[in-house]
Assembly symmetry: C2
Homo-oligomer: 345 residues x 2
DNA sequence: CTGAAAGCGCTTACAG
DNA sequence: CTGAAAGCGCTTACAG
């Protein structure tokens, strides 16, 4: 592969001049620039990305970091990533998905600086190792979701108002006359589980309803979403725990609930009402009955997270920002109004 | 940020030795290695990724390239990416999603080498600029899908046997007694559209059925999938074109068909049977009626593409491989058997 | 096993 | 506007 010296020689200029033609940071006489470009083309030359990076100390790459290792992206992540990519596209950044095993990172061989200008952290947890280990020297970061309390004021983040949303969903079900509302929450280590828990309990307490521990379940991180919904319902029903409505973490969990109901011969919404957080599937309307849910606007979360990050990369004096993205309830037909004899629309 | 010299000084060794401790390519006396590691830790030192890359000439990053610009990932891509990431994880690679606008790449400022060891190309098209422009000097590539004919023998690729699958799907519908089978194919510029077209026509011809051009439609790339399904059906029905079955590009297109049918007061499967390629949603079974489709095993496509690529990166004499991933028909309840009066299961 | 030096391929003051 | 030289922070023969 031709390098900058070859081009300089062929064009009859110094390599500084070749560099200037490409970086466009310093003007070069038009005629000279053309000669250089022509020489570059003839030699199939492009500036070496890593050499440039080494001297410029910036990569125009932003990183995306999942919790744990080898986690799979969900559909929520998909929308989020599409949002991130859109912003990347607009600003000329690339996106690097970090998949390195954490024990790799302990090995000297793989212990290196992170080849990005900044990073987006997904699905923060309470004692999030990724976040806790960060030092002042690390590149800028933006979290999607609420960071651990201890780091909250030090980090940029973009989040929905999950507490309020959970409260709204619960209130909605209360208004429909439900009293025993099962909450299939996400796994307890995720910070969002606390926010939703708070909203859920707040609504119940406000309505003067006692909290029943049996009706609030946290996901086991290793259980697939579908099974989580399916098994929880089957188990509770078998045990004779009664509930008339269930709020699920995602529409995939809700799907598990639908399947369990079908197997148990229970009707949705007549026997069980269902409401899902994270209504990120275009298919929810095709559920039978169409599934009510809250739309988190994942794409916007991603877009804004990337925007915040790029702003901080380009201006390290940019302020720490906490941005809230609107989420909205989408009421379809999976919840029954117990106050009337007809099914709630 | 501390560099290798600082560490060498603190540990009282040369920087070559520090390097050896980290790269582990040459043995270092245990006692010395520990001293170096301790010094590194004290200074919060990690080898600089870019500097290492520049001298080693490998990044341990593989690229993912979409066609066109700023395209969004679909659910098919999501599964595929999850497969790629799994392989990356196993081999210690990172994944870089290239989102740069192509006109950026024409600007000297953004014209650089690609910072990856190899690339995976998605959704190949007939005169795919990404592929056509490649030179011998570019890093190894693997295509997911069939490359343009001219490049076929020169490139590794992983693909389903789309022709056979399309033939099977069509035959299945023919066996059910359908004669007017509408095919909502993907956009014409994608190579896969040709394979499916071939399979579809082959089955029809074999059954002695004349091809009706009106019953074979190609997607307009800029039309959203849902609209494509919805509008095509509405338009054809309005125009009085008759068909009893429709094969769609994806389950999202099928969803559009479902909606159009609902609006037109047509029943699925009684009035229209539906069969979808790319059954990559966990939600298809929840359609009403459950949607029959072909599962492309996107995750495996991704896993194998990454495997092939990494093999070629690590051994540039590795052979050019064309790998076929099995796809399988999943028959649910969206197709009617015209030969009997009951609905086909 | 260890050190000193050259080299990877750029960019960037500095001097003209 | 242009050139010569230093520097970015590593790795890798080479010599011991």
């Amino acid at each position: 592969m031709a390098n900058i010296d070859d081009v300089a020689r062929l064009a009859g200029v110094s390599k500084g001049t070749v560099s200037n033609v490409f970086t466009q940071k310093r003007g070069v006489r038009k005629e000279v620039a053309e000669r250089v470009l022509k020489a570059a083309q003839a030699l199939n030359f492009k500036p070496n990305y890593w050499a440039r990076t080494l001297s410029m100390k910036q990569t125009s790459i932003i990183g995306l970091r999942m919790p744990g290792e080898n986690t799979k992206f969900s559909k929520f992540h998909l929308s989020l990533i599409n949002g991130v990519l859109q912003t990347c596209f607009e600003h000329g950044y690339r996106l690097l998905v970090n998949t390195l095993a954490t024990d790799y990172q302990e090995m000297p061989k793989y212990m290196t600086t992170n080849p990005v200008d900044g990073e987006i952290f997904l699905d923060p947890e309470h004692n999030d190792a990724r976040l806790m280990q960060r030092t002042e020297l690390d590149p800028p970061a933006v979290v999607v979701g609420r960071p651990p309390e201890a780091l909250r004021h030090r980090l940029c983040y973009v989040d929905n108002d999950n507490e309020t949303t959970a409260e709204q969903v619960t209130s909605y079900l209360l208004e429909l006359g439900h009293r025993d509302i099962l909450f299939l929450n996400t796994s307890q280590q995720r910070t969002v589980s606390v926010d939703r828990k708070r909203g859920y309990e707040k609504a119940l307490i406000q309505a003067g309803i006692a909290l029943k521990p049996k009706l609030h379940i946290f996901k086991n991180p290793s259980t697939p979403s579908l099974d989580y919904g399916f098994r929880s319902i089957r188990e509770l029903v078998t045990k004779g725990v009664s509930f008339s409505a269930v709020v699920t973490d995602t529409d995939k969990v809700a799907l598990g609930v639908y399947r369990a109901a079908a197997e148990l011969g229970l009707s949705i919404p007549n026997d069980i009402s269902v409401f899902a957080f994270s209504d990120d599937s275009v298919f929810s309307p095709e559920f039978h009955p169409p599934l009510s849910g809250v739309s988190l606007n994942a794409e916007e979360l991603g877009r804004e997270a990337a925007n915040l990050l790029i702003r901080r990369i380009q201006d390290n004096s940019a302020p720490i920002v906490h941005q809230t993205i609107l989420s909205n309830l989408v009421v379809r037909q999976s919840c029954r109004n117990l106050n009337s004899t007809i099914i709630h629309l």
